[in-house]
Symmetry: C2
Subunit: 343 residues, 2 copies
């Protein structure tokens, strides 16, 4: 008899098993052209009452189950606003409205809930979005883990902006907005009770203002993606697969903060596969790179922005890494579960 197939932690990793679950089960039943595009946020055409196209909205959702709910550099509330704002921004959209659904575990202290709500409110104000719809459910002690938050988001894409994970083109340069691994390792070291001289901080931040200065420098950006679950390696693999292109990355060019490197070594983790919550990658024509990079470096969330690679015609669907030793290897999608419940 075959063993019953069950959901594993790795199905939530953002890596290979997540993709199998999504394409094999979710899209099998719920699939339609909009959902099948597997973008960070889905494009919805807006028409007037005569049926004329007047613009494009984007719509996205994410649930947040991070444990612990408070961590250095943020909390589940800040994360729930940033994550959804960023998914909208990754389509070049101006984020406008959020919904927020709360699942509370019986016994959650009001003080914790209030701290999370205050943090959501402050982050929403920074990001310039309004939380306009909400819902609260309570489950028995043991039925959930303190607090889960779902946010869905709505944004508007400015005219002339066409950003998609399927729009990377051979010859594009690849820009990364800053150092990788901070969020996942801040969570993980806190969970493990590790202390470092320089404390690790999540990079959790709303990236819409960064995207807006990038688009002002060049509205012709092809692709944006925030490397969250599954890390930079997984996000690059998604772009390569969805655009049908190859990607070449210079390991040397990818910034990793020293405490992140030290903690990764200690825990046996690869920063390329660790989640970020305040970073983005962009692909665009080489001729547009300089003004965009300059605009990014002048922005607080893009100070360490750098060109870290290129889009190629070779090995479509694959990401190759030129290591600091000069060797070259494939950078696969995350295969198992590196960091559970980091978002």
């Amino acid at each position: 008899m075959m063993a019953e197939k069950i959901v594993l932690l790795a199905h939530g990793s953002g890596g290979l098993l997540s993709h199998e679950l999504i394409t094999g089960l979710f899209l099998k039943h719920l699939g339609n052209p909009i959902l099948n595009a597997l973008e960070d946020a889905s494009a919805i055409p807006l028409a007037d009452d005569q049926g004329r196209l007047i613009g494009q909205a984007v719509f996205t959702t994410d649930s947040y189950v991070v444990k612990p709910i408070f961590f250095p550099g943020g909390d589940i509330g800040k994360l729930a606003v940033c994550g959804t704002v960023n998914d909208l921004a990754m389509r070049g959209a101006v984020p406008l409205y959020l919904s927020a659904g709360f699942i509370l575990e019986e016994g959650l202290p009001f003080a914790d809930l209030e701290r999370v709500l205050a943090s959501m409110a402050a982050t929403a104000q920074t990001a310039g979005v309004r939380i306009v719809a909400g819902d609260t459910k309570v489950v028995k002690r043991g039925g959930a883990d303190k607090l889960f938050i779902n946010t869905a988001g709505l944004g508007l894409v400015p005219p002339g902006v066409h950003i998609s994970a399927s729009a990377a083109r051979p010859g594009d340069v690849l820009i990364l907005s800053g150092a990788i691994g901070d969020h996942g390792l801040a969570i993980m070291t806190q969970r493990e009770g590790l202390r470092f001289e320089t404390p690790l901080q999540s990079d959790c931040a709303p990236l819409n203002s960064l995207v807006s200065v990038m688009l002002a420098a060049s509205p012709r950006i092809h692709t944006l993606r925030d490397p969250t679950r599954g890390g930079l390696a997984t996000a690059l693999n998604e772009i390569a697969a969805q655009s049908g292109v190859g990607i070449e990355i210079e390991e040397m060019a990818v910034p990793v903060h020293e405490p992140v490197r030290a903690a990764s070594d200690l825990l046996g983790l690869d920063p390329f596969y660790v989640a970020n919550e305040g970073k983005l990658i962009a692909t665009l024509e080489e001729g547009d790179a300089r003004p965009v990079l300059e605009a990014m470096r002048a922005h607080p969330y893009g100070r360490e922005a750098a060109i870290v690679g290129r889009v190629t015609e070779e090995h479509p669907g694959r990401v190759a890494l030129r290591t600091i030793w000069g060797t070259r290897r494939l950078l696969d999608m995350l295969a198992g579960e590196q960091l559970p419940r980091i978002c």
Copy 2:
């Protein structure tokens, strides 16, 4: 020392404590004019690029934590589509797009997940909505209870329709679309392992097609609300409070199916406070009542529709019940927790 204030199951009941939590904590931090209206779905003005108002969208969210996830008449997937479609329909909107966020407990059988997804797909097709954005998280065994689903929804309000929980007016008649208590008691009797000769079935259904025939009969409907958590009594209290009116209900006129009445008696529950997932209440001018009632009775989800009460100038904010014994008493909002995790 004061005891630390914590979240109780009753905070999720939809009744008085839910309202205290929402107004005292959530609106304190996240409040804004759109959210403060406490409608089933929030109105978002749509403007063209010259800033001219071209229509009105509605946006809503709900998380579903029902236990068990399969129940007579439905499952958590069907509920997650119906609940959000209905919240949009209660503004008179045409539901268009849903997002779906899944929180899966490690160990959930794929077969169960697939059954839920197939049910969501079938219900979405019946309701004429598309699921265009999704997210999946997995939490460790014991970190959640099998499967939680959040759906957010987007709809468009047809021109000339202005339906709001604050729009009930003295002189309005109050129509109920059918018998109350079926959903909550189907769940509760299954949990308790009770068996009745006529098995109890949830009334879970997408109500947008019913609303659409009602609006075709009269676009001047004032108020629509689906009496879910907290039941009919709570929904009526919400309308009375938000519209600043009194409501008078005839107990005799409110249909309750015989098995629901029997099970309620056995379990000591009052059907007026039990959740429904396929019923609505409407208020409208008496002159518009006949065509609307006729349209409802010709629709499969409105066959038992009846006028069950009236909106009055007296006792604003309060609901009075004329009992089958001819006595009169106030019908308060649900005060504690009658049925946990029924939606």
